[in-house]
Point group: C2
Chain length 709, copies 2
């Protein structure tokens, strides 16, 4: 941490952009501007690191701080290289520690000792990733999935009967939804729960190998019960997927009659969790074990539900389990932030090659390529931090009942399906780039990055495969789009089509582009001024989402009338673009959240630097999709070049602030636990430089052969 | 394998492209073309899988086949999840097995029992990755680095004295080049070897912590000797980095006097190798232990070398060790091919969601997104296979002396620096995409992908950090570029600048683009016809490399005259683009090799499909860099859209051939060792479908609630 008092020097931020010469156009020789030096102090403006750190902690700052204190203790931390069996037992023990510390009951009912604090619960839970992702996920299985299913899908009887032992970990449990044959398509699982009127029991059965429950945490070893998802069948009718509370093992750990299973064995990561498979052969549970908030079966086998539509009922049930996606978005963002803290700290100390001087080697982060590899990822991580806090506020509003309409729930699910894919993929990309940026050192377990990457890997496919989630978002966007015309007569639709065509003619055949080219010609400066304008960025990002969706909707508008197979084929031919449109939407959500967050930043220096970070994020998105903007006539070639030129300039400006920007994440050495980010590299560099300097001064350094001739 | 006899049906390949309607332009509704069905036979044309497989095996096909036989045996294979200590001992034992099998001496001199077969040696060595990447790399350390250094940097005395025990593994050894403080910049290592005339010994010394040797295979446990790279100092002059043969440990495994070290401990992968650190405190070795092919010290301390320039000498010495990069390119390509074989086989069997039918779920690979994720990576892998074989032929020509001029060696090094980064990054991306495409199953160690990815991770930064290697390529391209003008008068340079400016005006301000737009308008068909033309692809790819280099050279042409620091800053401001230019060059090399390989494909059906694969690779590169082509006026927006449309079409055409294309890699179940690619998934799917079909036929399937009303 840098002394914040020293940061109260007069800010020149308002003027600075004007005094930095614009990146020369490509037909001029680059002016030889010396690269920023690592040992230089951050240039004005300056970040108030402590204040910014507080802002990044977000709405549940105090809870996060307390959770980070817990994560800083070795007893909750991962031991790198621990064998799987020991790691699993260790994490089980850590769950007990969490219970003792009263750290995991925030979301449960007050009458059972909880706090009914849904947002705070997730905030605390996410921070466990700092200690060990296996601990985060195994806690999530126990209280966020198994317990939450009883809480949200069960009723008062289930809460009273099952929750206390779940909360206390007396009953570790599995969340038995996924099957070997069905993951993303939960509605099609094969397990059946057939009601037997005579005995008033449900008969849980696994009809074939593909219907084995699979990949379930707590299933291989520790789970003594499970919430099992199965097709509820009564009176010959299949009422769709419902959840049942099913005891699994006896006190000695043996499977109960009719139940069997397998260990999933070693995984790519998260080996502190005992994932496994389960199968059921006519296993009987009492009628009352149906978690019946959204569907009940009377003694005589009559089915009833507060939600008439089976489809809506299914999605409502699944919707109550959205918190997994919320917490993965937060934990993935934390992992990216940790990776960048490690790599940027190391990159600020480690030196290699001496292009600019005969004696001093360059600090890695002074290389443009190194900056290009890490700083845009830092900008994205910042965007995610802001987006995640808004997401969590929304989640809290829905689950606390403050804002819990159908629309609120649907919005929450769409946000979850949009943000979780981007942040989990970003975590993997960032961990990998950080690993590579640290070279061989990054590959050592002692520097933490590889272990985190191994654990986070599965975040991109569990709690909803990322591609499937983005497709959900796209379908929602298509629905919203078509709703604009739902009540309109054919004329309105026709008018829309005409306006689209006109727009295409305007954007698509070069007229607007040509005008832009003429206006821009010779003035990179003017192009840059416009690009750094918030509204320009917003318009470009928004426009892309809308245009992509409108285009696809146009292509699909007659598909509804086709036979099912042909309609599916038409949809399939647009699937890749649909998913890209959903990604564009999610990127826009992140950009908007960042921009709103920026509005709450009060310190002028911090605000200036953060604006550059936001611009780097926004323009980075536009650069990534530059071809689209060019093809669709939204940017002239001249202006498109200015995007990259301005990104180069932003990166140069941000480079001196890189350390402050990662320091503001607030991770301490006990959280990072990376040798190379401990200051050891700075010591090594200082020692080496002192060695050569002393010999140079004493004249005892051997003369290079070349100079000796 | 499919019966190749049945493939002699009349080929319609020549006509097919014309009869498939072009992808409709974006303002038309997509015609409802049913997606290809997984159970359909590959459409005409057909691939002759066996013939193609033979072609993919390349120049050393028989050696590869024999090496794959070895790799198919369990005793050489990795045991997933084996603890590090046991894994290390197992791999050491496997090295002994390889010696017993006579599998690793191909490159050594005939008089010592070798075969002097450099290309065949690498081909065999690469295939070890199928058994265990740790085995590949530990073998590489012993015979490809430690042994090869003695072979290529030593002279007859060293060969006679040291090679037999290295070849027999009596002396396992480390290749002690990298230091904690210097990896990519080998010239700046800190270890010194100071000649003591009185005792006729070299004194090896580690002056500070940053100069500890680090990340060395065989250093933590097994190495009893090392080739140590150090600054050779004699008579007060530093003659630069040279290699010394240094004994490390006594018979009991203890360090010799003055030597110490540390275990690097657990790594992100390759844990069958005992990487570690070494340091030397005034360790004395006889004068003869200098590996003196490129530099000798006489008894009186006089230094001499056949290469006068210290810089050229250094690069010549390092150049002899290029084989590491060659073999990583091959092994990385094999890993990508394995990953795709697993994911595509699984994607052809696994079903999820039933959009197109009321009963049958879709095979994953029938989803457009799934195809988009895997098939372009398959095309790149094919390009790499062809490029790697040419690379290996070049390597063999240089090391066998068949074509061993200075230019040949420089070309070989540039090719190595270009191809190794692309293929090792591609391996990681492909392994990750394959892992995600297999969902949760992909995360299980039993399905192999995660373990391979963990092991291959470090390939992108060892034997030359990928970014540093690409920068080397870029510098070579810049040098070649400026050489065009080296002997020209100022007038030639001036003319060049004028022609560049004229070209920019033509390409850059929309004139050519506008003309293209007018020509293309309404004719996606014409645009596609041109894009699939080989020469068009070649021109687009070549043009980009040349234009990027010319542009950067133009910006840097006055930098030479600047003071060192300013010149370095100017270079640094172009570093990112330089590296991108090098990547473009490497992509072009791959595309050209693929195209040459295609010319040798004789079977018409195979040739047709392979042409589509090559087109997918080439157009995929153009799509990736579409913004550049648009900005620089090489493609009109209309034509740019046709690139994506044609890629969509190519992918649709290739989809039925996907299985054949991965089968042609020729991996057997013993090589893949992935449960999900074993046919188990097909059995599960068949069982589940039979279950439902039987109940549907018998009328005993419970009625869905919706239908029951």
């Amino acid at each position: 941490m840098v002394d914040t008092a020293s940061r109260s020097t007069p800010k020149t931020s308002g003027k600075r952009p004007a005094t930095v010469p614009p990146k020369p156009a490509r037909d001029e020789v680059a002016a030889p501007i010396p690269a920023p030096r690592a040992d230089a102090q951050p240039a004005s403006p300056r970040i108030d690191v402590e204040l910014l750190g507080r802002q990044l902690l977000g709405t549940w700052a105090d809870i996060r701080v307390a959770a980070r204190e817990r994560a800083a203790k070795p007893d909750l931390q991962r031991i790198e290289g621990q064998p799987m069996a020991e790691h699993r037992e260790r994490v089980l023990g850590q769950l007990k520690t969490l219970v003792e510390q009263g750290a995991v009951h925030k979301a449960f009912p007050k009458e059972l000792g909880g706090e009914e604090d849904h947002g705070g619960n997730i905030a605390a839970f996410e921070e466990l990733v700092l200690a060990d992702p296996s601990l985060q996920i195994k806690s999530g299985v126990q209280w966020g999935l198994f317990g939450a299913a009883v809480l949200h899908l069960g009723t008062e009887y289930h809460h009273r009967t099952f929750l206390p032992d779940i909360m206390s970990l007396k009953v570790p449990g599995a969340f038995a939804m996924t099957e070997t044959g069905h993951g993303s398509d939960v509605a099609a699982i094969g397990t059946t729960a057939t009601y037997d009127e005579a005995k008033q029991q449900f008969v849980i059965d696994t009809p074939f190998r593909g219907a084995w429950k699979d990949y379930l945490g707590n299933a291989a070893l520790h789970g003594t019960a499970a919430v099992v998802f199965a097709q509820l069948i009564t009176k010959g009718v299949n009422h769709g997927v419902h959840a049942f509370y099913v005891p699994l093992r006896n006190a000695k750990g043996g499977f109960l009659k009719g139940i069997g299973g397998e260990d999933d064995g070693l995984k790519g990561g998260l080996n502190g969790i005992d994932n496994g498979r389960l199968h059921f052969t006519n296993v009987r549970v009492p009628r009352e074990n149906l978690l019946n908030r959204y569907g009940s079966v009377a003694e005589d086998g009559t089915y009833s539900s507060p939600i008439a539509s089976p489809g809506r009922r299914f999605f409502t049930m699944l919707g109550t389990l959205v918190q997994g996606r919320v917490s993965l978005d937060g934990a993935a963002t934390s992992a990216a932030a940790m990776a960048l803290t490690i790599a940027i700290t190391y990159g600020n100390q480690r030196r290699q090659f001496n292009a600019a001087s005969d004696t001093d080697e360059e600090v890695l982060l002074d290389y443009q390529r190194h900056q290009r590899r890490l700083l845009p990822k830092l900008a994205t991580t910042y965007a995610q931090v802001f987006a995640h806090d808004e997401f969590l506020v929304k989640f809290d509003a829905v689950f606390s009942g403050k804002a819990d309409t159908d629309d609120d729930r649907q919005d929450l699910e769409t946000i979850a399906a949009a943000l979780k894919p981007l942040s989990t993929w970003h975590a993997l990309e960032t961990l990998q780039e950080a690993r590579e940026a640290c070279g061989g050192a990054g590959f050592l377990a002692e520097n933490r990055i590889v272990g985190l990457r191994q654990d986070l890997d599965v975040y991109v496919t569990f709690e909803g495969d990322n591609n499937v989630l983005l497709q959900l978002v796209a379908k929602r966007l298509l629905t919203d789009f078509s709703r604009q015309f739902a009540n309109a007569d054919a004329g309105a639709m026709a008018r829309y089509v005409v306006s689209q065509t006109a727009e295409r003619a305007y954007h698509g055949t070069g007229l607007r582009r040509l005008a832009q080219t003429i206006a821009d010609f010779g003035s990179t400066r003017r192009a840059v001024a416009e690009l750094r304008d918030e509204e320009t960025q917003r318009e470009l990002l928004t426009d892309r989402v809308e245009a992509m969706i409108a285009e696809i909707a146009g292509r699909l508008r007659d598909a509804r009338k086709l036979p099912k197979a042909d309609a599916a084929a038409a949809f399939n031919r647009n699937q890749n673009e649909l998913i890209e449109a959903a990604r564009a939407h999610a990127e826009l959500l992140q950009w908007e959240a960042f921009t709103r967050g920026l509005a709450h930043t009060t310190d002028p220096g911090t605000k200036q630097v953060l604006t550059w970070v936001r611009d780097l994020f926004g323009l980075g998105l536009i650069e990534k999709h530059l071809a689209w903007y060019l093809i669709h006539g939204r940017l002239s070639p001249q202006r498109a070049q200015a995007v990259t030129a301005y990104i180069d300039r932003l990166i140069e400006r941000l480079r001196p602030h890189a350390q402050d920007l990662v320091d503001a994440f607030g991770y301490r050495p006990e959280h990072l636990r990376a040798q190379i980010a401990s200051g050891a590299e700075q010591e090594r560099q200082d020692e080496a430089r002192a060695y050569y300097a002393a010999r140079r001064a004493a004249g005892t350094l051997p003369v290079p052969e070349k100079a000796s001739r």
